[in-house]
Amino acid sequence: MTSLPITLTINGHRHELEVDPRVTLLDLLRERLDLTGTKKGCDRGQCGACTVLVDGNRINSCLALAVSHDGANVLTIEGVARGEELHPVQAAFIAHDGFQCGFCTPGQIMSTLGLIAEGQAGDDPERIREGLSGNICRCAAYGGIVEAVLEAQEQLAKADRRTAA
């Protein structure tokens, strides 16, 4: 089939694109737009490396057709830091040794942003573990990740209180 026109807002930038309907959001980001921070691990929804936020919700971009998300607002790892200033989640991952290889870390961070936005975990380590269980990592950074999530939530809550005041 011929290509179809779609519009996507990615990290705040609007893109008008023609895509083959078979192209996943993941492949579009990596192969067409050179946004290679989002990683392809299993390509089948099992590892979380491809996690991005679509309209604020974390999803596996490997199981999402780009055409089906025409008009969506996408946030990838490239859009998380503010210029040179790291996002509190990124800073907390560094502070707590929450990552080791570059392959799963972007997905872990995007998933953490989703988890915090969902507001379901709070300060319960079991809920944080369960909430991030769609991101599989082989190098046992999980302990550090839980600590990073707890700290990042605190930082973000403080920042919220500052803006509210």
Binding site: G45, T51, R58, I59, N60, E126, N135
Partner: protein
């Protein structure tokens, strides 16, 4: 992935007309369909994207007290709806025990009902599989089959249905609302999925073009809210399919069981309603002896389909445990690990 035509109809009638043509498949969240297309297990010529059809993403209370859940409601949104979780805690618990947060954010109500089996031979196009390719045989029989069915299986297919969501739904008498070329009809979830028999490729009652528009929970379903649980046992604590699961719901008054619902997951090609066990529970004293008899009744017709005899005993124990948890009362907040047999049972060790 094979080339396909992509269409995004604007109305339900247009969607049905488009999908009624042979070789079509509906696309909702895509979390199962794309997986199957990538593996070459299904290769539709036309993908009918229903993800934006109007009015299918709503949850509404009907005049008769039943709850109507639109087919496009996301699994995560339904589970996190506090009013829903309060009224139907076992359903919310089952939803939260399924897949991962990312997948639940994409997966829809209709798609979850129609997800295909996780039998590994079904997923491997080099294997013989009557469900994928009728008449080719079944490599699971005599193969790696410790996770296969112990109830309702046939010599043609021994696969299980993998859904968690469907298990409490079938226990609570859920009804599937279907729209097709002939108009709208209602089918109970118990009758919706089919056992394999000689035709395992026919997994449910849908005809070409039929669209699930909603799932309904009758008014009575909420009467179990105080004593309802879903217990899922799997090979790692979270993000895995059920080896065996059970949904149990009770109404208990002065120690006597006034109403009882029980269904099992991971044991058959459909979510398994255990009516014979319900008959044992009804009117009996709510205690472990009753629960054990109910478990025996639920598994009375079970038989191994291979290396899976352990599942029969496991299922009995899960039934007793699910009923015991239900009797202890629905917790205020759904535990983070509904999967874990060690969590949320009074006196159970969390770190065991």
């Amino acid at each position: 992935m094979r080339d396909f035509d992509y269409v995004r109809p604007a109305t339900i009638p247009d969607a049905i007309a488009a999908a009624a043509r042979p070789g079509s498949a509906y696309l909702a969240g895509g979390t199962n369909l794309l997986d199957l297309m990538k593996g070459g297990i299904t290769s539709p010529e036309r993908v009918v994207d229903i993800s934006r059809l109007p009015e299918l993403n709503r949850v509404e209370r009907l005049d008769d007290g039943s709850l109507r859940i639109g087919a496009l409601v996301r699994n995560a949104d339904l589970a996190h709806d506090t009013a829903f979780a309060k009224a139907y805690p076992a359903v919310a618990e089952a939803l939260l025990s399924g897949a991962s947060a990312q997948l639940r954010n994409a997966a829809t109500v209709g798609g979850n009902l129609l997800q295909r089996t996780r039998c590994s031979y079904f997923y491997d196009t080099a294997s013989a599989c009557n469900r994928r390719e009728p008449g080719t045989g079944c490599d699971a029989i005599g193969g790696e089959n410790r996770l296969h069915a112990v109830l309702g299986w046939s010599d043609a297919c021994i696969a299980t249905h993998p859904s968690d969501f469907c298990v409490p739904l079938v226990a609570l008498d859920a009804v599937v609302e279907i729209e097709g070329k002939q108009g709208r009809r209602h089918v109970t979830l118990e009758e919706f999925h089919r056992l394999p028999g000689e035709t395992p490729q026919r997994e449910n009652v849908l005809e070409p073009g039929d669209l699930i528009v909603a799932v309904r929970l009758p008014a009575e379903a909420a009467s179990f809210a105080a004593n309802a649980r879903y217990l899922k046992v799997r090979e790692r604590t979270s993000f895995a399919f059920a080896v065996v699961s059970a949904a149990a719901a009770l109404v208990v008054d002065s120690g006597k069981i006034r109403a009882a619902r029980l269904a099992l997951g991971g044991v058959a090609a459909k979510p398994w309603r255990a009516r014979s066990a319900e008959a044992v529970l009804l009117g009996a004293d709510a205690n472990e002896a009753t629960f054990a008899s109910a478990a025996d009744a639920a598994l009375a017709d079970a038989s191994p389909s291979g290396d899976n005899a352990f599942k029969i005993e496991l299922a009995r124990r899960i039934v007793v445990r699910a009923l015991t948890s239900a009797l202890a009362g629905t917790p205020e907040r759904i535990p983070a690990l509904p999967a874990s047999p060690f969590s949320s049972i009074p006196g159970a060790r969390h770190d065991a």
